[in-house]
């Protein structure tokens, strides 16, 4: 199995979720992160003092998938998350040894 992790724009999350669902992926885990990269942050000014916020809010998506699906899932996410402007994010894949569904104790592909 594989763990596909994607860092995307918060506003693309709904589209990505829908695309994954359409592909047949039924579960994922989402969290809030701050991204640091080419995309510039912004400045805030408080009583004349300027603060440069160099991180940008992003969303991290984690999807456990079958080995065979890994490549397609990356593509599905890629397509739904792409806007073509700096800061669209990254997707990466890591091999996973073992997956367990807590409710049932099932292991391997059945646990997904």
């Amino acid at each position: 199995m594989r763990l596909v992790t994607a860092i995307i724009r918060p506003h693309q999350l709904d589209d990505v979720k829908e695309a994954l669902e359409a592909y047949g992926i039924s579960g994922m885990t989402v969290s809030e992160v701050s991204g640091y990269g080419r995309q510039r942050g912004h400045s805030e000014v408080y009583r004349g003092a300027e603060y440069t916020v160099d991180v940008v809010p992003k969303v991290r998506l984690e999807v456990l998938v079958d080995d065979l699906d890994a490549r397609s899932v990356v593509d599905v996410i890629l397509k739904a998350a792409q806007t073509g402007r700096i800061g669209d994010g990254k997707i990466w894949t890591v091999p996973v040894e073992d997956v367990v569904r807590v409710r049932t104790g099932e292991r391997g592909p059945e646990a997904l």
């Binding site: 918060p10 506003h11 709904d14 829908e18 695309a19 969303v59």
Partner: protein
Amino acid sequence: MNINTGDTAWVLASAAMVLLMTPGLALFYGGMVRAKSVLNMMMMSFIALGTVSVAWVLWGYSEAFGESWHGLVGNPFQHFGLDGLLGTRVFGTIPASAFVAFQSVFAIIAVALISGAIADRARFAAWTVFTVVWATVVYFPVAHWVFAFNGFAAHRGGWIANDLKVIDFAGGTAIHINAGAAGLALALVLGRRVGFGREPMRPHNLTLVMLGAGLLWFGWFGFNAGSALGAGATAAVAWVNTLAATGAAMLGWLAVERRRDGHATSLGAASGVVAGLVAITPACSALTPVGSVGLGALAGAACAWAVGLKFRLGFDDSLDVVGVHLVGGLVGTIGVGFLASASAPAGVDGLFYGGGVDQLWRQVVGAVVVLLFSFTVTWVIGKVIEATMGFRVDREAELAGIDLREHAETGYDLTVLTGGRLGAGTAATKPAGSSPLAGSAAGGPAAQSGTKTPEGASA
């Protein structure tokens, strides 16, 4: 008699200030619970603003201040709907309606105070019913006993004010002991929260608690000094005593904390403020400022100690209605018997000022009777509601958060994850599908598919 505009101005301003105490209490309580039940906690106060207002106008005022039946209860039909009070009728030096206004907000907050004892676990519908029943069966009669003086709003008033002659200037018995005892009864009826005494249930937002304490303190000047029903020396002395006792109570509470726990906390400061305000409520016309400092310090320390009781005795008075209002109310009401000074407006000497035990026993009897009456009747009301409609949410609702279950809302949504989408099936959205306008909001076809939308493209 003529209306005195100065007295009226003060009473109307005071009434508005006391009205603000209930939202203040909602914040004070709301900040103390966990984030997942803040709205329900606040709603328990807010709904009292709705139900008790209406009950007051319809029958409550009349039940409390109509012609008395043996000193026990006013005639609820005499002024039903405030009949006969609109015109030029004057009580003392103020319009009758000004008195109606001032007393209304006391009834509201008395009910709201109870809610702290049963945080996080009461069905909202059951609580709504409770507010009306409790006001009718407990509060209006007790207010009659304590606040209805012979010859003011009616010829014959309540027995505690006129026969027992307890000194309870602004409601130590009628409001605080009453609500505190009722809170204890309900806490016992509803039982402990899931995880009580084991899971941490720390306050989720102490800035709300402190804001609430600030609003309460502000409003309480209307509560106490407004109870003079006029803008003269009595009101002014009550004002000063309210300040002195409250400041001292904060210091008293913080001193206990510092000694016992090692730190003076902001929750302690806010709690001390309320404890002092509670204690000085019955006493503010009867003490000297120095006596008020003493009473306040004692109340702060006593309540700081009393809030630990629930863990020892195992009842889940969640936000310490007993520890603060019942104990504080007792300290204040009985304290009058010791600390009253004839130099204060009430003109009575307590035990420490050479007045003997005459006033003291009156205070004790008044306090105990209200306590027992309120506890007993409230317990019965609670049991009846529990048996008929059910008073408590199920444990899944408690774990997930009562806000979601009872109100379908979340207190805060501070993250970038919007975490949802506009649903189908409600009033607002049901017809949306059929509206060509709504469907094409903001210049594009609604994106229900998984494809990229023009909107998505720029996010």
